[in-house]
């Protein structure tokens, strides 16, 4: 490539840089109806400063942008708690059938029986995986499921004449969405300390078990990638005090076919279908966050749920609203396009396949733990589940931060792990390989991590300045926050 490469020159341009008055990227037909009178001009707008580009401009622009991204399709993506597994292409192909992608959410139910049956089957299968007797596909993402969950807990206590149950217990290792969701549900958040295993401190739970307790929100396995053997006991304590237990299902990829939240004592759990069931993340969505619940919360589920009605001839499906529903979460019925992909994935694997998937996910995480523990200290030295948390403290003592290690991984073509989370681990590097990565990829990753550890000793400046191979280097985020430039404006 030379400096005269016109492709490289255009690589930094915005749509507005490509724009020329009168150009267009699509031609629409002429009207085929008799001309109707237009409304009064005072209601009409005059200016609309959208870019004017040709169809090829659109294609080249977005293709160039795409090429600046890392993705699962192009790179190993060991991003802890995000479950960046392979997104099967058949999922997209099934979801793009016109009978799914082209139907209107408010068509009469008799015209969308296939869609309703798919939702019914997925609802049933998610209930089987979680062991829960009821569920709703309505929430549109994990945090949306959390909101549904805390609202159900609130409605339950109010219906039982205990509106003063206002305290939601949340471990200090939780994702930020947990306290934010509890707060949106009108609860007071009380943060509980973790023990040295990153597991909830039993004594702290007992101390908080009183008549102000609304519930506990807890991630299984926890955010250190560990399964707390006391989890059933914790659920008993919370139930004993009249509270309910919310399971954050972000880490369900470890438990598919291995344990059911219902059996452990959970009252409600959400599933991140875009993690556990392989639907693509899309650069930050769409997701889907169905909730599955035990008997106590079933009447409060968000609307709609899908019911089957046995007619004389064949089963019929319809939307229904549970008796004491917390209401609707969106104008639609859930992120249907994501639900189709999720159902396709579950049907591709079946129960045995899911169990093999969780087994391989946990095998891969432990393999990385064992192969890298002599270089990067493991936060908690014991068998992990689907993810392993390292601490870069030994490297920090040599002046290299977890951030630097992560940025250097980019130069080796690996997406950085989740950094500085959970908050209870210093210099945390949270690695989740997922089951869809081969041993060859894992071995290559191990070599990269060992090479980087060597660079910490020999040439730390390489890490401080990394990444070196990307379209841009480390960005001035302080400037971005101090002088926000959030939209294109005419120069």
């Amino acid at each position: 490539m030379t400096t005269h490469d016109i492709s490289a020159q255009r690589a930094h341009q915005t749509l507005w840089d490509l724009s020329a008055p009168g150009r267009s990227g699509i031609r629409l037909p002429e009207s085929d109806v008799p001309k109707q009178p237009m409304p009064d001009a005072s209601l009409l707008r005059e200016d609309l400063r959208l870019p004017e580009v040709s169809e090829l401009d659109v294609v080249r622009h977005y293709t160039r942008l795409a090429q600046k991204n890392f993705s699962v399709d192009t790179n190993f993506y060991p991003l802890g708690s995000c479950t960046m597994k392979y997104n099967p292409k058949i999922n997209d192909m099934v979801a793009s059938q016109p009978g799914f992608s082209g139907i209107h959410p408010l068509q009469p139910e008799e015209t969308v029986q296939g869609a309703l049956e798919l939702m019914y089957r997925l609802q049933r299968d998610l209930q089987a995986i979680t062991g829960m007797p009821a569920g709703s596909l309505a929430p549109l993402a994990g945090a949306h499921g959390e909101l549904a969950g805390v609202l159900m807990i609130k409605a339950y206590h109010e219906a039982n004449g205990e509106p003063d149950r206002k305290v939601m217990l949340i471990p200090d290792s939780a994702h930020g969405t947990n306290p934010a969701s509890a707060s949106m549900g009108g609860f007071e958040v009380v943060t509980l300390p973790s023990d040295s295993n990153g597991s909830l401190d039993l004594a702290a739970v007992e101390a908080a078990a009183n008549d102000r307790l609304a519930g506990l929100m807890i991630t299984i396995p926890n955010t250190l990638g560990l399964f707390n053997p006391n989890i059933a006991r914790i659920c008993e304590i919370v139930h004993g005090a009249g509270g309910l237990v919310y399971g954050d299902g972000a880490n369900m990829n470890a438990l598919l076919g291995r344990a059911r939240p219902y059996d452990l004592g959970f009252d409600v759990v959400h599933l991140n279908l875009h993690k556990t069931t392989s639907t693509p993340h899309g650069g930050g969505g769409p997701g889907a966050g169905p909730v599955c619940v035990g008997e106590r919360l079933a009447p409060y589920l968000p609307s709609p749920v899908v019911e089957m009605v046995e007619d004389a001839e064949r089963a019929r499906y319809r939307f229904a609203t549970p008796a004491n529903s917390i209401g609707t979460m969106s104008a639609g019925h859930g992120n249907f396009g994501v639900l189709v992909r999720s159902y396709t994935y579950l049907r591709a694997l079946g129960a045995d396949g899911l169990r093999q998937a969780s087994g391989d996910a946990v095998l891969n995480a432990n393999y990385l733990r064992r192969k890298l523990e002599h270089v990067y200290r493991v936060a908690v030295d014991r068998t992990c589940m689907h993810e392993v948390v390292f601490t870069g403290r030994p490297q920090r003592e040599k002046g290299v931060k977890a951030l630097d290690i992560s940025k250097r991984m980019i130069d080796y073509g690996v997406h950085p792990p989740t950094m500085y989370f959970p908050l209870i681990v210093e210099e945390a590097l949270m690695v989740e390989p997922t089951e869809t990565e081969s041993k060859e990829t894992l071995d290559a990753f191990i070599e990269v991590m060992i090479a980087i550890a060597r660079e910490v000793e020999e040439s730390p400046e390489l890490l401080h300045e990394a990444p070196h191979v990307t379209p841009v280097g480390r960005l001035d985020e302080a400037r971005a926050a101090r002088q926000p430039d959030l939209r294109w404006q005419a120069p």
Binding site: E477, A478, A480, A481, R482
Partner: protein, 128 residues
């Protein structure tokens, strides 16, 4: 070797207080605090004229990826806030004990200052 001048008093939450010649208190955050935060990008301060009790939350200070509460070290009425630091939060990094000051307070109980930490006490607190 301390970055924290002896003429200021300190809180364990990393605010400093300087008693001015007119008896009013100037308040800011410490060198140590700004060093821990990194680039300060946004500051929220209480309204001029409001009355605060020592220890109350008086505002927020944000870096790119953190937000921390600010607590008022002494009780009193807010006389002035530093518009320059609100417009240019980087002043806190450049000169935390000078141009990076945040507010002036008319103290209702000047003896509260005596109960704050000396620079030596503060330095040993942050060292532990």
């Amino acid at each position: 070797m301390t970055e924290h001048p002896s003429e200021l008093r300190y809180t364990i939450e990393h605010e400093w207080v300087r008693v001015e010649g007119d008896g009013n208190a100037t308040i800011g955050v410490t060198f140590f605090a700004q060093d821990q935060l990194g680039d300060v990008v946004y500051i929220v301060l209480p309204a001029v004229g409001s009355t605060l009790q020592a220890g109350a939350r008086m505002g927020e200070i944000e870096s790119v990826k953190s937000v921390s509460d600010l607590f008022v070290p002494v009780s009193g009425e807010v006389l002035e806030t530093n518009q320059d630091v609100l417009d240019h939060p980087e002043r806190v990094n450049e000169d935390p004990h000078g141009a990076g000051w945040m507010l002036r307070v008319r103290m209702s109980d000047p003896s509260e200052v005596d109960r704050l930490l000396t620079n030596e006490q503060y330095d040993s607190a942050i060292a532990s």
